[in-house]
Amino acid sequence: MTATADTAPMRIGLEGVVSDLSDDKQVFHVPWGKAMMWIFLLSDTFIFSCFLIGYMKVRMTTTVNWPVPSEVFALSFGGEPIPLILIAIMTFVLITSSGTMALAVNYGYRGNKKITVILMLATAALGATFVGMQVFEWSKLILDEGVRPWVNPMGAAQFGSVFFMITGFHGLHVSAGVIYLSVIAYRVGTGYYDRHRGGNYEMVEICGLYWHFVDLVWVFIFAFFYLW
C-alpha cells in the first residue's frame, strides 16, 4: 500500500480495518475534528446509558407502582386528556430539527452559505422550542402535580429524580447545542470558513454530528421513559 497521510487507499472489509489500524501515520482517515467529535459522542453515549440503566434498576426494584407516563404526561385541551401529546410534539420538533441540520450540512458542502445559515438557525430555533416545551413540562410537574426528586403523589418516590435527571441532562445538551449551532452559523455567514479553512465546511458537519446525537438520545429517552 503506497499511502500518504491523507490519501491511504481504502480497502473494504476486515482487510481495510487491519490496514487502517496498522497505518504508519493515521488510523482514522477523517479530519481530526470529526474523529474527536465522535469520541466525545461515544463518551456521552456511556454517560446517558449510565443514567438510563440506573433508571432501569430503580424501576425494576421498587415495590411501589411506577407512575404511568401516558397519564402523567397527558394534556387535555378542554376535553379528554390526550396521552403524551406534548411529548409527541417535542419528538416531531426534534426530528424536524435533525432534518434541517442534515440539509444544512449538505448545503454547506455545496458552498451555499446563505441556505446553510438559514437551515442552521432553523435547527437552533427548533431546538430552543424543544427546550421551551420541556421547561413547560417541568413547571407543570413541579408546580401543578407536586413532583419532587424525593416524592410524588402518583407512585414510586424515585420517579421525580429519574425524570428530572435524565430530561435535565438532555435539555442541557440541547441548550448547549443551540448555542453551538448559533456560533457556527454566525461563522458560516460571515465567511469565516472561507478565510480560515479554505472554503472547507467540515465544521458544519461536525456540528451536525453533535445535533444528531442529541436527537438520538431523545429517541432512547422517548422509548424507555415515556412509552415503556
Binding site: 479530519p31 481530526w32 474523529a35 446509558s49 442534515a102 479553512r197 422517548f222
Partner: protein, 120 residues
C-alpha cells in the same frame, strides 16, 4: 489552509438531498408508529417488542444516514459502534441484580407491593 486529513475523496461528503428527505419522512412515520403503540394501548410483549423495534430503526437511520456512518471506513464504524455493545453486558448484569434486589425487598425486608392511588 485545508485541515489535515481532508482528501477530496473523504473529507467532502455530498450525497443527493433525496436520501435525507427520504430518511426524514421515515423518521416521522416511525415516530408516529411508536406513539400509536401507546395510544392504542398495546400491552405486554407486543408493546415492548414494537417500542424496541421502532427505537432501533430510528436510531439506526439517524446514525447511518444523518451521521454519515454508512459512508465511513469500517475501522471508524467499529471504533464507534462496538464499544456501546459492551453496554448490553452491563444492562444484563444490572437487570439480574435488579431482580435480586426486588425479590429481597419482598421476601427478606417484608415489603408488600403497594399501589399509590393518584389523587387529582
Amino acid at each position: 489552509m485545508a485541515q489535515a486529513g481532508t482528501s477530496p475523496a473523504e473529507g467532502h461528503q455530498e450525497h443527493p438531498l433525496g436520501i435525507y428527505l427520504g430518511v426524514w419522512i421515515l423518521l416521522f412515520v416511525l415516530s408516529t408508529f411508536s406513539y400509536m403503540v401507546d395510544y392504542l394501548n398495546f400491552q405486554g410483549l407486543l408493546r415492548w417488542g414494537l417500542i424496541l423495534l421502532f427505537m432501533f430503526l430510528k436510531a439506526g437511520l439517524i446514525i447511518a444516514v444523518f451521521m454519515h456512518i454508512a459512508w465511513e471506513r469500517l475501522v471508524l464504524i467499529c471504533a464507534i459502534l462496538l464499544p456501546p455493545l459492551c453496554l448490553t453486558v452491563f444492562i444484563g448484569m444490572m437487570a439480574i441484580e435488579a431482580d435480586y434486589t426486588f425479590l429481597t425487598r419482598l421476601t427478606v425486608f417484608g415489603e408488600a407491593p403497594q399501589i399509590v392511588a393518584p389523587h387529582h
